[in-house]
Symmetry: C2
Amino acid sequence: MYKIAVDVMSGEKKAEELIKGALKALAEEKELELTLIGEYDIISQELAKTDFDSNRLKIEKADQIITMDESPVKALRKKKNSTVNVGAKLLRKKEVEAFISPGNTGSVMAAGLLKVGRVKGVLRPPIAIQFPAINGSTLILDNGANTNCSPENLEQFALMGQLYAEKVMKIDNPRIALLNIGEEKTKGNKLTKASYELLNNNPKIKNFIGNVEGRDIFSEKVDIIVTDGFVGNIVLKTTEGAASFFLELIKDSFKTNLLSKLAAFILKPYLKKSLDKIDYRQYGGAPLLGVKGLVVISHGSSDSTAIYNAIKAAKKSIEENMVELIKSEFAKNEELE
Amino acid sequence: MYKIAVDVMSGEKKAEELIKGALKALAEEKELELTLIGEYDIISQELAKTDFDSNRLKIEKADQIITMDESPVKALRKKKNSTVNVGAKLLRKKEVEAFISPGNTGSVMAAGLLKVGRVKGVLRPPIAIQFPAINGSTLILDNGANTNCSPENLEQFALMGQLYAEKVMKIDNPRIALLNIGEEKTKGNKLTKASYELLNNNPKIKNFIGNVEGRDIFSEKVDIIVTDGFVGNIVLKTTEGAASFFLELIKDSFKTNLLSKLAAFILKPYLKKSLDKIDYRQYGGAPLLGVKGLVVISHGSSDSTAIYNAIKAAKKSIEENMVELIKSEFAKNEELE
């Protein structure tokens, strides 16, 4: 059985919507055991409306929510019975193998670090996010867990990203690159110059292809890109901003007149299909790699589709033993030292 | 007379195309005097094909080109008679007031710094680029001239950006922000934390609105964003990459079948109009602010429209006395110290 806990209360969407996604995954995946975390009454009322395999579904009470604007660490300390604290506790006690939350990103991250704990040998767990690309996707680490990074941190991001890409994303011999402002190895700031050497000389990083630039994220050139959490987070938000700005422009042009509206109506289904590729909901949330349990940070605006895909992706990570693989990767490191 | 030199040889497009844009600007702007830099025969052959006011147009011979993959400083030293060296020399000798080049960005920048020289008091001249935004545009500095920056550098970028936005972009009381990974003043890395204080406490920075995130670039929230050249360059390339990826997806959906092709054909003019907003060619190149002359770095793929707009923008900067304004801004600084 794959045991996964889902925080259905602290996202921007209602519990009802998130439970719908969870139940869909439960119905499809027969070896799944779900724990829904949140207010008992709300969840049980919602469950009463529908049929599901009650042997494989539990409710875990949590009557507090950490809001999006709260200071993560303080809120975790204060709200002992928050969904995020409860989920992290289940994970630490190994009652579940994965915990998914669409809540306050900082709080989920902090709970992962402080309550679940780092894998021995991992200096700084990164947030890994799949960015859409022309053929498939590009995994970027870190997207904001670690604002100031050392070259050794980036080296570890590459190793964890490599395992995740091979096992969960099923990419053979994934190409790993360093995000930089030019392709030459002498380009960049102090961090990228020092990291280049480490990545290039580490025999365990199998397919290091050098530096890539911002535009390569969306290309076919690379599978995994490492960068510090400051730059990664800015890249993430810039991409989100550019995409919604672009979409806004397109929509504007559609509204010009009656003819354009008609043409847009015809195009809508084709356009939708094409744009599904850049829909973050397809990618099932962002794992915080390198903690002693699978912590998945979902987008705050996650709906049933996003939660459904997050559960599927978490199941895949459990199947592939991601946490154990990272443990043994870094245990080997320890031995070498 | 506004005297502007244009390098018509070292871009990706042919001289013929770039000369077309220059001549269009010359015909429109009666107080413009242009110097076209490049191979004499090529330029004069092109000019022979058309009518123009020959009293206001000169050719300046330069028979070498610095290619896109050459090391900027080495190439400048080696190729004494390159378009970029020749242009920088004209500017230094005050034979022209502005020099525009679509060539190797690093070489144009280095020529600006080394041959034209920094304004007294300016530590690091930044590249300023206008990013399209939902209502107008957002000026970002620096976009790649300075990989490693100090808080004092960012403070100066804000002051120069403020002058440029007020005078050339004609924005009243422009809102200035720091690019960061969250809005709270305690967010970010060492550079942003220290820069926040400087920007916030400098009375000459009139409208500092705090931190903004990557997605705000394209919004109505802010007019000027300062960041170090490493992050700025990654933001620039990520935006370019996201835009062309998005466009690719849209085009794909249009090609689905006969019906979608027909609808797309109808929509094309409206879509084009809407997407003109994100066309870099509208923004007339990127000035390297803080050097003793107006150096404008144009996109490598600049065509006649891009060159035409770059000339118009350069003329505006000359009219507004940008270089002198920056000089007196930083001269005042010197006195205060």
